[in-house]
């Protein structure tokens, strides 16, 4: 696995899928976006769920824009109602600047919803024709960015799926690819290990700062969120470090180049190949959109047995739980739990599956059903109250 065959984008990135994003820039355009998407092949709807005002929604809008310039996306149709403050060009401008074709339509400037759907379909057809003409190329693995995330974790995650994906991540990095993990709350207690893995003291300081910020968001006096449950402990986890280390295992052992910030001002991107951390949320639906915005073409997702899926970034699901594993799972790691397969063997299975998926093969549930394209954003007023610095 030294190259993959994908779609060449004008900005130099290479997609493993060739999608059209239909963006409802305000919540009122959602129905129009769905109506257009229903009749447009390979299209994905991304909706601003939260008011039509720009102020306070900057992080969400930035996530939408960056998801549209994901390598897997060929072009975008930006729709809005038109009475709010999110002008379509605010969203379309940066997408156009990436060299992707963009169309915009404002409902109140057309003669209403039905006319906008009709015109939207015509514009979508133009974008599909453009996408179909995109050249396919053999790309080096330095063009591959892989998101790494866990969800629905259980005892098998820390022993089977996480170490296998971690070893696969090490092998990918050694071949010149990039991988990005997140879920900073789960890295509490791992700071000393991350200190050794960070490429510089500055990167380590930034990691410690962002983990501490995330801790402040979730551990509010009187409204604590559980970090260790009785169930976790009965399942075999003795300390918070053990739980964190199990989660960290999926990031492998290679040096951490940087921790990528995702906030109202900026969405940082990888600058050199290698392993990265990020502010990607631990919440699954929103995490996939963060990975999309960071430029990941594919996600490795470790689980007990849940079928998490995203329509922009294909998700490869890895499970080691023989009770829960079902046909949604792409890589079977249950052999490790039976003492039959080694972590090394399963890491090879992860890479083989990844190789097929980045060369166009569908994942177990691609095209069948997806999680909602949740757009997570931090409330700027709460950030201020918690004393989290916004630069």
């Amino acid at each position: 696995m030294q190259t993959f065959r994908g779609y060449q984008r004008a900005d130099g990135s290479v997609g493993i899928r060739n999608l059209l994003l239909i963006i409802a820039a305000d919540e009122c355009a959602e129905g129009i976006a769905r109506a257009v998407a229903d009749k447009t092949p390979n299209s994905v709807v991304v909706t601003n769920y939260n008011t039509c005002m720009y102020g306070g929604n900057e992080e969400m809008i930035a996530t939408m824009i960056n998801a549209a310039i994901n390598p897997n996306v060929a072009g975008a149709l930006v729709l809005n109602m038109g009475c709010g403050s999110i002008a379509p060009d605010l969203v379309a401008g940066p997408i156009r600047a990436s060299g992707r074709p963009v169309e915009t339509l404002t409902c109140i400037k057309q003669s209403g919803t039905v006319a906008t759907i009709k015109e939207g379909l015509a514009r979508a057809q133009k974008l599909v024709a453009h996408a179909n003409a995109v050249e396919m190329v053999d790309a080096p693995l330095s063009k591959l960015v892989v998101g790494i995330k866990c969800g629905g974790s259980d005892t098998s995650s820390g022993m089977a799926s996480n170490p296998s994906v971690g070893l696969a991540a090490d092998k990918l990095i050694d071949k010149g690819a990039t991988a990005i993990a997140g879920e900073l709350l789960e890295l509490m207690g791992c700071e000393h290990i991350l200190e050794k893995r960070a490429v510089s003291p500055q990167v380590h300081e930034k990691i410690v700062q962002l983990i501490s910020d995330e801790e402040k968001r979730w551990h509010v006096e009187g409204a604590q969120v559980e970090t260790m449950s009785v169930g976790n402990s009965i399942g075999g986890l003795t300390t918070i470090e053990e739980k964190s280390l199990g989660a960290l295992a999926k990031t492998g052992t290679r040096p951490i180049q940087d921790i990528l910030r995702i906030n109202a001002k900026t969405i940082e991107k990888p600058t050199v190949p290698g392993m990265y951390l990020s502010e990607t949320t631990m919440l699954c639906g929103g995490s996939a959109m963060h990975f999309a915005a960071l430029g990941c073409q594919v996600i490795l997702w470790t689980t007990g047995g849940a079928g998490f899926n995203n329509p922009i970034v294909p998700v490869i699901r890895v499970s080691g739980n023989s009770q829960l594993i079902n046909e949604d799972i792409d890589v079977d790691a249950t052999g490790i739990m039976r003492g039959e397969d080694s972590i090394e063997e399963v890491s090879e299975k992860v890479l083989e599956t990844l190789h097929r998926v980045i060369n166009g093969e569908k994942t177990a549930i691609e095209d069948f059903g997806y999680a909602y394209c949740s757009l997570i954003q931090k409330d700027q007023r709460v950030e201020r109250l918690l004393g989290i610095p916004t630069e």
């Binding site: 005892t155 402990s233 739990m337 003492g339």
Partner: protein, 111 residues
């Protein structure tokens, strides 16, 4: 015979892959799936929990996955369950009431 997985060569515990009974022999396997030892479980160890591969003295670090993830608060003989009754966090302990609840629910044999 039971099986337990040692994730890293530096580890002093292995995770059992199925419930192990008191007195049962446990085969310890490496991440390369090689048998590296066979030890006797000194007490019942439920699936997913850790068996000590070496004696731990109070203050010794518990090493799993190549990293210190806790410290012993009591002597932990080879073959014993390493868990909340004899191990604590290096950073942030879970509350004592929760520890008692875990020991009760898991029916952990304490010496």
């Amino acid at each position: 015979m039971g099986k337990a997985l040692r994730l890293d060569g530096a580890d002093n515990v292995a995770t059992v892959l199925a419930d192990v009974a008191k007195g049962e022999r446990v085969q310890i396997i490496s991440d390369q799936n090689e048998i590296i030892a066979e030890i006797e479980a000194l007490q019942a160890i439920p699936f997913g929990n850790k068996i000590a591969l070496a004696p731990l003295h109070p203050g010794d670090h518990l090493i799993k996955g190549g990293a210190a993830v806790g410290k012993a608060i009591k002597p932990v003989p080879l073959g014993q369950l390493a868990h909340v009754q004899n191990i604590r966090s290096l950073n942030l302990d879970i509350p004592e009431t929760m520890i008692r609840e875990i020991i009760t629910q898991m029916n952990i044999e304490e010496d």
